[in-house]
């Protein structure tokens, strides 16, 4: 887990007041093996780390899961922003918003990606480290520019941003009772259209 990383944990302990909050219950899957043994796990969760001034004003947001090195760098950036004036923080996000990278073209062909992904995975299965590295890249190249755009608007409190960040940045609609899982769970799969 991220907070097991010694450098990340030390940075948080020494420099931040740490708090957590649950935005809604996460879906869970329970597998009954029929012999009394059961396995319960969560699915479709996601996270956002808000870095705030002591008065609760949002300085920056770290989206999703990240490699410890990238997360630590973002924590250090947050410390620098915490020492800046509110106008400087806004100017930082306005300037950073301008360097957003275009969306990768290979992510646009969703249908093709869905068919090919299992084959690619079987040919070259990714390790957890590789998956985390891929997530980190997406967070930095696609999600972070969106966050800069939002934080460039004005000074926000976390509660004002929660639904917007989850929906527009993390693509999890908190108001959807099935968190977007309904088509996969109830669509009937390969037999759904028959």
């Amino acid at each position: 887990m991220l907070f097991s990383d010694k450098a990340v944990a030390a940075c948080i302990r020494n420099n931040y007041v740490a708090a957590w909050e649950s935005v809604r219950p996460v879906p869970t899957v329970e597998i009954d093996f029929g012999n009394g043994a059961k396995l319960k796990r969560t699915v479709n969760g996601n996270i956002a780390t808000y870095l705030c001034a002591p008065d609760g004003r949002v300085l920056d947001i770290i989206p999703g899961l990240n490699e410890p090195k990238a997360y630590l760098a973002a924590l250090m950036d947050g410390l620098r922003l915490s020492e800046a004036l509110p106008e400087t923080v806004l100017a930082h996000h306005r300037g950073s918003r301008a360097v957003a990278r275009p969306r990768r073209l290979d992510r646009l062909d969703v249908g093709k990606a869905m068919v090919e992904r299992p084959v690619k995975h079987a040919l070259a299965p990714k390790t957890d480290a590789e998956l985390l590295a891929a997530d980190t890249e997406v967070n930095q190249t696609e999600r972070k520019p969106l966050i800069h755009g939002i934080l460039a608007e004005k000074a926000y409190r976390p509660a004002e941003l929660t639904r917007r960040i989850y929906k527009d940045v993390l693509h999890v609609d908190l108001d959807n009772p099935y968190l977007g899982l309904v088509s996969a769970a109830f669509g009937g799969g390969a037999y759904g259209s028959r």
Binding site: M1, F3, S4, A9, I12, R13, N15, Y16, V17, A18, A19, W20, E21, S22, V23, R24, P25, V26, V29, I31, L39, K40, R41, T42, V43, N44, G45, N46, I47, A48, T49, Y50, L51, C52, A53, P54, D55, G56, L59, L75, G78, L79, S82, R117, P118, V119, H121, A122, L123, P158, A159, T162, V172, L179, A190
Partner: protein, 70 residues
């Protein structure tokens, strides 16, 4: 050669593997994470962290902080 590889892969029920892989992986992990191992004093909710003279890190998630796969 590619046709042979694809034929072998397709015979292995890739869609089923795709669904089951996260569940198989999860079976090897503990259900809960011991928060005390990080040495971080986690407060519950933003209000508990306000006005303490230091910047705040608010970790926002679906589920609970000690759920391993939240």
């Amino acid at each position: 050669m590619m046709n042979l590889i694809l034929a072998v892969l397709l015979s292995q029920d890739l869609a089923k593997d795709e669904v089951e892989a996260p569940i198989k992986k999860a079976a090897t992990s503990p259900e809960k994470f011991d928060l005390s191992k990080s040495g971080i004093d986690w407060k519950k909710g933003l209000d508990a962290a306000l006005h303490q003279g230091k910047p705040i890190l608010l970790f926002q998630l679906l589920g609970n902080l000690d759920d391993v796969h939240c």
